[in-house]
């Protein structure tokens, strides 16, 4: 009697993962209903199944940085719509609406601060700002953050959460991949450590540039990490994708991640890495 059973799981539409308002939250993975305050206390990790909810740059700042140590720079930078891009809506209008809705100026926050007392320069991407897409401003802010790390001889960390390059800025978005990769090569030549943290999701041009260039590559468990999106790959090869495809554990198994670290341990483990790098024999 399997009339009502789906034999194959249908392709899921792009998941909507903003933390909903209200007192109770349902886990998107196991369905557990969790008291929101409790979830917040647990850094938005499901107490039952360890599912890592998607969180924003502000949450990661409070999770990773020592109290009040984070100081943002280049906060005011914004996109200017150099292509006068328009689909069903003007990019400039979409952008304005996103700024208003998210109360952020762009898809990345850059600043300095200390993690377990170690100074770092860090860039944190935020998926809720136009899918964490990388345009001119994201590329430029990350670039300047790397400059700052070089100037001050401080370890660099980039936390990625991004669907890839921003189509609305065309070739200029693409060139941000080259820009940031070139700057990271400069950083590497100065022998300054760079830690890349990949969260759910990190795909497209973001993966194919700074996210994959860390001295140490760390991912949160279960994060979608890849170049092409699963839908495109499925179309290309015309068959179903293996279970766990493009998830952190799969990517590590294939040799592209050093560590998969639970969000509860992230700060402490990064602190230890920074301590290791700083230690002089």
């Amino acid at each position: 009697m399997d009339w009502f059973k789906r034999k194959k799981e249908a392709l899921k539409p792009a998941e909507k993962k903003d933390i909903p308002d209200g007192l109770w939250v349902k886990c998107e993975s196991c369905g557990e209903v969790i008291y929101k305050k409790e979830l917040e206390k647990r850094m938005y990790v499901c107490p039952k199944c360890d599912y890592h909810f998607r969180i924003g740059s502000a949450d990661y700042i409070s999770i990773l940085f020592d109290d009040d140590s984070f100081e943002e720079f280049n906060q005011g930078m914004q996109a200017v719509d150099p292509l006068h891009f328009k689909d069903s809506k003007k990019y400039s209008e979409k952008y304005k609406a996103t700024v208003k809705k998210t109360k952020m100026n762009e898809a990345v926050v850059t600043g300095t601060g200390t993690i377990e007392s170690h100074p770092v320069v860090m860039a944190l991407m935020d998926f809720k700002f136009l899918g964490g897409s990388m345009g001119s401003v994201v590329g430029e802010k990350i670039s300047r953050a790397i400059d700052k790390a070089i100037e001050t001889n401080t370890p660099m960390i980039i936390l990625s959460s991004s669907g890839g390059a921003r189509m609305h800025e065309g070739i200029l978005s693409l060139m941000q991949m080259a820009k940031t990769s070139a700057k990271l090569a400069r950083l590497a030549n100065k022998k300054i450590p760079y830690i890349s943290i990949l969260t759910n999701p990190t795909t497209g041009g973001t993966t194919a540039s700074y996210a994959m260039l860390g001295d140490v590559q760390i991912a949160e468990p279960g994060a979608l990490i890849g170049f092409a999106g699963p839908r495109v790959i499925k179309q290309t090869i015309g068959q179903d994708l293996p279970p766990g495809f493009q998830r952190s554990e799969f990517v590590q198994e294939h040799g592209f991640l050093d560590l998969i670290v639970h969000r509860h341990e992230l700060k402490q483990r990064i602190g230890k890495l920074l301590e290791f790098f700083a230690h002089k024999n």
């Binding site: 914004q78 996109a79 345009g135 590329g139 200029l172 080259a178 194919a208 540039s209 260039l213 592209f256």
Partner: protein, 322 residues
């Protein structure tokens, strides 16, 4: 290679083709019947020339995009054959395989010995499959880097000929780290101590192009395209249907002229009227001249300075306000 050029008419070329066919008919008719049509034929020939000029000097972005993908357009190895007095292809990435979508090797153009790397598409179905439609896998990028690092080792300038509809979006490509391969190439290419010239000869699709596309000079052929995603891909995402690709091509501003105006591309290489495929020798000769001129300029710059300039060049790309 077909001995006679095939005729493949794009939509916007139809009026020209129709007129040319008519002229041909009239000529045949005049010849076989002896009817005097010289004046009429001359008039129509003049009109056809005018029409050509009109159509090809006002190409919109979607039309140029179609020329960039034209099935008769010269491909990477056509340029190699036309430009080089010597070419020895070097195979394999030394880790996994030899990717046929990317060709790399030692070359000589006039008095310059250099390394050439580029994407190669196939002409017929068998060749297309063999070359995987010019879509490389990670091992292709790794082969390219291996050969480019060898260029640096032996102090040879590098020319990359870009012509790809994208890096291959396959299962194996993901397993073997497509993203990492592209990222690492950009990372390394930004600091290779020899001149690097990138020429987009056809399609410059996104990361697939950029994986061999970091250098001191970026040149684009007049009817090539270069952007963050193909117009079809963009339309499928933003308009939810690939049939809106012409709109996406306009919105993303994918042409050489756009890329130059946006400060990404240094130089546009002119093509023969109607596209590179209509006079391949002219197109190849134009590319060769541009490559030689740029290489000779760059070879005068000390390596340290060259690298600094290269990184700064990319630093300036993009627009923002603060």
């Amino acid at each position: 290679m077909p001995s006679k050029p095939q005729k493949i008419a794009l939509d916007f070329e139809k009026p020209i083709i129709d007129l040319e066919d008519k002229i041909k008919e009239m000529k045949e008719f005049a010849q076989s019947t002896g009817v005097e049509l010289t004046d009429d034929i001359k008039r129509l020939e003049k009109k056809s020339k005018q029409l050509r000029k009109e159509i090809f000097s006002n190409l919109n972005r979607w039309q140029r995009y179609q020329l960039a993908k034209h099935p008769l357009r010269p491909y990477m190895l056509d340029y190699v054959e036309g430009m080089c007095s010597y070419f020895e292809e070097l195979h394999g990435d030394r880790y996994f395989a030899d990717d046929k979508a990317i060709v790399s090797g030692f070359a000589q153009i006039d008095d310059i010995s250099l390394v050439i790397v580029g994407q190669q598409k196939g002409r017929d179905t068998k060749q297309k499959l063999f070359r995987n439609f010019g879509m490389s896998n990670p091992e292709g990028y790794r082969k390219a880097l291996r050969v480019m690092e060898m260029a640096a080792k032996f102090n040879k300038p590098i020319v990359t000929l870009i012509d790809t509809p994208g890096a291959y979006p396959g299962l194996g490509a993901e397993e073997r780290g497509q993203a990492q391969a592209i990222a690492y190439n950009m990372f390394k290419m930004s600091h290779l101590p020899v001149p690097i010239i990138n020429v987009v000869i056809g399609e410059g699709a996104s990361g697939g192009a950029l994986g061999i596309g970091v250098g001191d000079r970026i040149l684009m052929m007049e009817n090539s395209w270069y952007s963050v995603i193909s117009p079809e891909g963009c339309a499928a995402i933003l308009w939810r249907d690939a049939v809106h690709a012409p709109k996406a091509a306009e919105a993303m501003k994918v042409t050489a002229i756009d890329a130059k105006e946006l400060g990404v591309v240094d130089e546009i290489i002119p093509e023969p009227q109607g596209g590179a495929h209509l006079a391949k020798e002219v197109a190849i000769s134009n590319v060769k001249k541009a490559i030689l001129r740029n290489i000779k300029e760059l070879m005068k710059i000390p390596a340290d300075e060259l690298i600094d300039q290269r990184v700064e060049k990319y630093s300036k790309m993009g627009f923002w306000k603060e």
